[in-house]
Amino acid sequence: MGEYFTLFMGAVIVNNFVLTRFLGLCIFFGVSKNLNASIGMGMAVTSVMTLSSILAWIVYNYVLHPYGLTFLTTAVFVVLVASFVQLLEMIIKKHAPALYGMWGIYLVLIATNCIVLGVPLLNAESNFGFVKSIVFAIGSGAGFALAIILMASLREKLQYADVPKSLEGLGIAFVLAGMLALSFMGFSGMIPL
């Protein structure tokens, strides 16, 4: 149990996906202008990531690895994740239109995204077991959600600040992310890796 907890906390704060691994930056900067949107995005990413890592784990451990096809991992995972997200989108659209209204747009955005693909790849690379993969995926998703929600709260306040003209928009957002990453560095060393 302790091992899983360490893995989870490590993925959330020590090795935060956005702030120390630089994954998912496109949506991190794209969607963090608004707090509500960032909460939706965080939830969507966490659930899609968890489901797709389960799927990827099964394919990797029952197809790719036993048949010596690990060199195809990249190609198989990207097709798997992209088609899974499309399928999920169709199912939600058909059976839960209200949910689709809330989340549909985020699903389209994360169909081919480095963070959703990154977790299955890391799971495969570190040879995680089934439960470990799920814990790692949930932790990574929670870490992403934490980072994007913090960032959105900061950026909403930033709208009232007087930013130098050349840094407006993306420039100051990066500097801000740097500050955020700096504060997350305080956690490093808390969990031995």
Partner: protein, 220 residues
């Protein structure tokens, strides 16, 4: 795309006007993670350059036979194949770099810039312009990566490509090779790029104004 554009123009626009890192803010994910040393940044930049050029060529070759409805899966499969080739080559000949780039190499598959060039340019143009479009975008990407890598390595470790620059007495600014330094540096560089573009635009406008003035002056 206009037919009058020369191949040089197609190539050159990727370097500055539409530089993939500073201008379009696409495909940022890798830019920071592997730029803590110049050599890693160069390896990543060259890999992306190869993938984008090869993919543009392939897509433009097959553009007649790809049904628009399935074009995105086709693009993704093509990109994934080329990325796998790059991975295998790096693993075989440069195992150290392969380990340093780790999963970021595989993640080239989902770089928005590569898919965007296939969709926007290669799907509508013949092979030669598509090749140069990919080469230009790739060079712009690689150049920006190396620039960031050199600055981070120089201040963070006092070296460039592993060669000592500041001498033994230099006390490295460690934050530069850590993630926060990468974020802050990119933010400031985007700012600097904006200032440069604004100044270029102003010079252009002033020149145009001066010319109208001189033309009017000579008339009078």
């Amino acid at each position: 795309m206009n037919n009058n554009d020369s191949l040089w123009d197609i190539f050159y626009k990727g370097l500055f006007d539409q530089n993939p890192i500073f201008r379009l803010a696409l495909s940022l994910c890798p830019a920071l993670a592997v730029t803590s040393t110049a050599i890693n940044a160069l390896a990543m930049g060259l890999s992306v350059m190869f993938v984008i050029t090869a993919n543009n060529t392939v897509i433009s070759l097959f553009r007649r036979w790809v049904n628009p409805k399935v074009r995105v899966p086709v693009y993704i499969t093509s990109i994934a194949t080329i990325v796998t080739v790059v991975q295998l080559v790096l693993e075989a000949y440069f195992p150290e770099l392969f380990r340093a780039l780790s999963i970021y190499l595989a993640l080239i598959v989902v770089f928005a810039i590569i898919l965007a060039r296939a969709e926007v340019f290669a799907a509508k143009n013949t092979v030669v312009p598509s090749f140069f479009d990919g080469l230009g975008m790739g060079t712009g990407f690689a150049g920006a990566m190396v620039l960031i890598g050199v600055i981070r390595e120089l201040f963070g470790a006092g070296t460039i490509f592993g060669l000592e620059v500041f001498g033994a007495g230099y006390d490295p600014i460690l934050i530069m090779i850590l993630p926060p330094g990468g974020f802050i540096l990119i933010g400031l560089m985007i700012g600097a790029f904006n200032i440069y573009s604004a100044r270029q635009a102003k010079i252009g406008a002033a020149r145009a104004k001066a010319c109208t003035a001189c033309a009017q002056g000579s008339e009078a």
